[in-house]
């Protein structure tokens, strides 16, 4: 047995927010938040204030990802501190408002936990997205959720990459958690996807309730997929996409891609292979919203994180 690792004291998670509609056409979150704004019984837990919230109402109204700019990239320090005048894009103004309501980001007044609900056209199943490998509260919550959902799986994507990390709506909280469930087309509500997301949140809130009651969660290991690089489509001189995700790679999120494996297929049928030096685990394969972000898939590497024991302070 390894050396004794001390139990981490974490402040009670009193204030929890559930964000839906950060992208207005990702309908599971929009629907769940609307449901809970009307009747919040399902998300109530002892000792927790749980607040459902539509982050981008104008995009939800239009059923589009965003109006001016991607809200889930808008929470940069520059944007949050920019003087609020009529010239700012809608989502930047919205980010400032959300930061006031649920933050300020980085301050002791910020919300304890924010769950941000997303869908993807990629075949990612149920995925939890972390922004830090050192948030032991989050790691323990994820471990609890995974055990509760078993044998159904829920994988973990860790985006701690200094360049690829981005400023999400949930980053306003002390413990940000992204929920990404797919595959689901934009603008479509699939019943099975909706129910999966609902179930993840149920277990997440159960964990918070137990934690706040003083339950100690022993050390555990959490296998994660760590973001290592973004891979774009092959493009021609004019920037137009020249190939599609290869049929062998399509829908194979989280499966190993080895050097030499088919990766793309040109429009006239030729195969382009992966030329990297080692095995990667692609995810966000063929996500509709990422065509404009120059991303065919995200390459990840497998890692196991150790979570310390945690207990409420």
């Amino acid at each position: 047995m390894s050396s004794f690792s001390s139990c981490q004291s974490v402040r009670e998670a009193r204030r929890v927010a559930i964000f839906g509609g950060t992208h207005g056409n990702e309908l599971s979150g929009v629907t769940l938040v609307h449901l809970w704004m009307k009747n919040g019984t399902e998300i109530q837990r002892r000792g927790v204030e749980t607040r459902p919230f539509i982050t981008n109402p104008r995009a939800v109204e239009k059923c589009s990802r965003y109006v001016d700019t991607d809200l889930n990239r808008a929470f940069t320090p520059e944007n949050l501190s920019a003087p609020a005048d009529g010239q700012l894009p809608y989502e930047v103004l919205r980010a400032q408002e959300i930061n006031r309501m649920f933050g300020p980001k980085g301050s002791p007044d910020a919300y304890d936990v924010i769950f941000d609900l997303h869908n993807t056209t990629s075949n990612m199943g149920c995925t939890l997205i972390l922004e830090s490998s050192k948030d032991h509260f989050n790691l323990q919550m994820i471990n609890y959720i995974q055990k509760a959902l078993a044998p159904a799986s829920c994988l973990v994507l860790l985006n701690e990459h200094p360049l690829l990390k981005y400023s999400t709506a949930r980053s306003v909280a002390k413990h940000p958690v992204g929920l990404e469930v797919g595959p689901q087309p934009q603008g479509v509500l699939r019943s099975n996807i909706f129910e999966s997301m609902r179930e993840i949140l149920k277990h997440a809130l159960d964990f918070i309730e137990l934690f706040n009651e003083g339950v100690e969660f022993p050390p555990c290991s959490v296998p994660v997929f760590r973001v290592s690089e973004r891979v774009d489509y092959p493009r021609d001189a004019n920037g137009n996409i020249m190939a599609m995700v290869h049929p062998n790679l399509q829908d194979c999120d989280w499966e190993p891609l080895n050097p030499g494996d088919p990766m793309f297929q040109t429009f006239d049928g030729k195969t382009i292979r992966y030329q990297g030096s080692g095995t990667i685990y692609p995810t966000f394969i063929n996500e509709a919203a990422y065509y404009e972000k120059q991303q065919a898939f995200v390459a990840t590497r497998r890692e196991t994180l150790s979570a310390n024991a945690v207990r409420k302070a």
Partner: protein
């Protein structure tokens, strides 16, 4: 033994293949772009070798919507081709797609005239699990129906179906109705804004086999008649909605999701409410559902469409001789003058 009569039909000299009628339905966008690239590369000699039997016009129907990867800018282009929409005045406030429809009508039509394209194939994708569906306004357009049969035989690993909207020529509203013959080639499931290689390949095969068929037809091949299934649209059903907000209050039931063209019987599950209740199909007639959970139809108030299936007999066909064609033209012209 009695020989069945062969229906003689005019040559199909001018064919149009259109993509991007909805700017976010990407298989058609990329396929037409690819075909344009191939056409450009082809040497002139090769083109002449075809014998001038058929010309293929490649069209990107809604370039502004394609540029923004949206279904449309102001209004759905594929609803702008009724006679009323096409002949209206073009004013400053005329929506972009109305103007574009009139341009396309001038290019590919005019609808209903002798100068219209012989065949228009309009490429679409759907989020519904519909395989490859040909969507037309006729259950007796032998050209479209023979093309369907040809596709069904040549593409065995994808379900191929024929859908018929029983709408008059005047009221027909889609781009394919501009040609003398026309259909939408709808391939799914594919999310909007995404191109899936398998879906693209299916559509590419569909277009290729269609053009092959037209080429054979023009060369004088006789295509034997027979029987085929036609799905004729009867009605559609909307989602249950909240009286105040108009938001949907249920999703397509998990037992119906992805079951396009599987018979829906009275009492079968239709929707599942967010509180877990099952809402069932209360119609009296079993019907075939399709366009189940198509994303673009939420705003049109359509959760699914329903059709009747029936067996239809189609005659053998072959291309008219030049003499027959001349006689036919004279008759067509005098009909127009009436």
């Amino acid at each position: 033994m009695e020989v069945e009569e062969v229906e003689r039909l005019p040559r199909l000299s001018r064919v149009a293949v259109c993509g991007g009628t909805h700017g976010n339905e990407l298989s058609g966008v990329y396929l037409v772009r690819e075909l344009l690239k191939v056409k450009k590369k082809k040497k002139k000699e090769e083109e002449d070798e075809d014998g001038g039997a058929m010309s293929v016009l490649l069209v990107l129907s809604n370039p502004r919507a394609m540029q923004q990867c949206l279904r449309y800018i102001d209004t759905d282009l594929n609803r702008c081709f009724t006679h009323a929409c096409l002949i209206g005045p073009t004013l400053d406030k005329t929506p972009y797609e109305m103007r574009r429809a009139r341009e396309l009508n001038a290019m590919l039509g005019p609808k209903g005239s002798a100068g219209a394209m012989d065949l228009i194939c309009d490429l679409h994708n759907t989020t519904a699990n519909m395989g490859l569906s040909l969507i037309t306004y006729s259950d007796h357009d032998w050209i479209c129906m023979h093309i369907f049969r040809h596709l069904q035989r040549q593409i065995p690993d994808t379900p191929v179906r024929y859908i018929h909207y029983d709408v008059t020529s005047k009221e027909s509203y889609s781009l394919d109705s501009v040609g003398k013959h026309g259909f939408a080639m709808e391939v799914g499931p594919q999310p909007h804004g995404v191109v899936r290689s398998n879906i693209y390949t299916t559509m590419k095969s569909g277009v290729q086999y269609m053009l092959d068929w037209v080429h054979f037809f023009n060369s004088g091949v006789i295509f034997d008649g027979g029987f085929m299934d036609v799905f004729t649209v009867v009605k559609h059903i909307d989602y249950p909605r909240d009286g105040e907000t108009h938001n949907i209050t249920a999703a397509i039931h998990p037992q119906l999701q992805d079951r396009d063209f599987c018979l829906l019987r009275p009492g079968d599950p239709l929707f599942q409410t967010f509180s877990g209740e099952t809402l069932r199909y209360t119609g009296s007639e079993p019907l075939y559902p399709f366009f189940i959970n198509e994303s673009a139809y939420y705003e049109k108030g359509i959760a699914l469409c329903l059709a009747r299936k029936r067996r239809v007999k189609i005659p053998s066909v072959r291309v008219q001789t030049e003499e027959e064609e001349r006689q036919n033209e004279q008759r067509y012209t005098s009909e127009e003058e009436e």
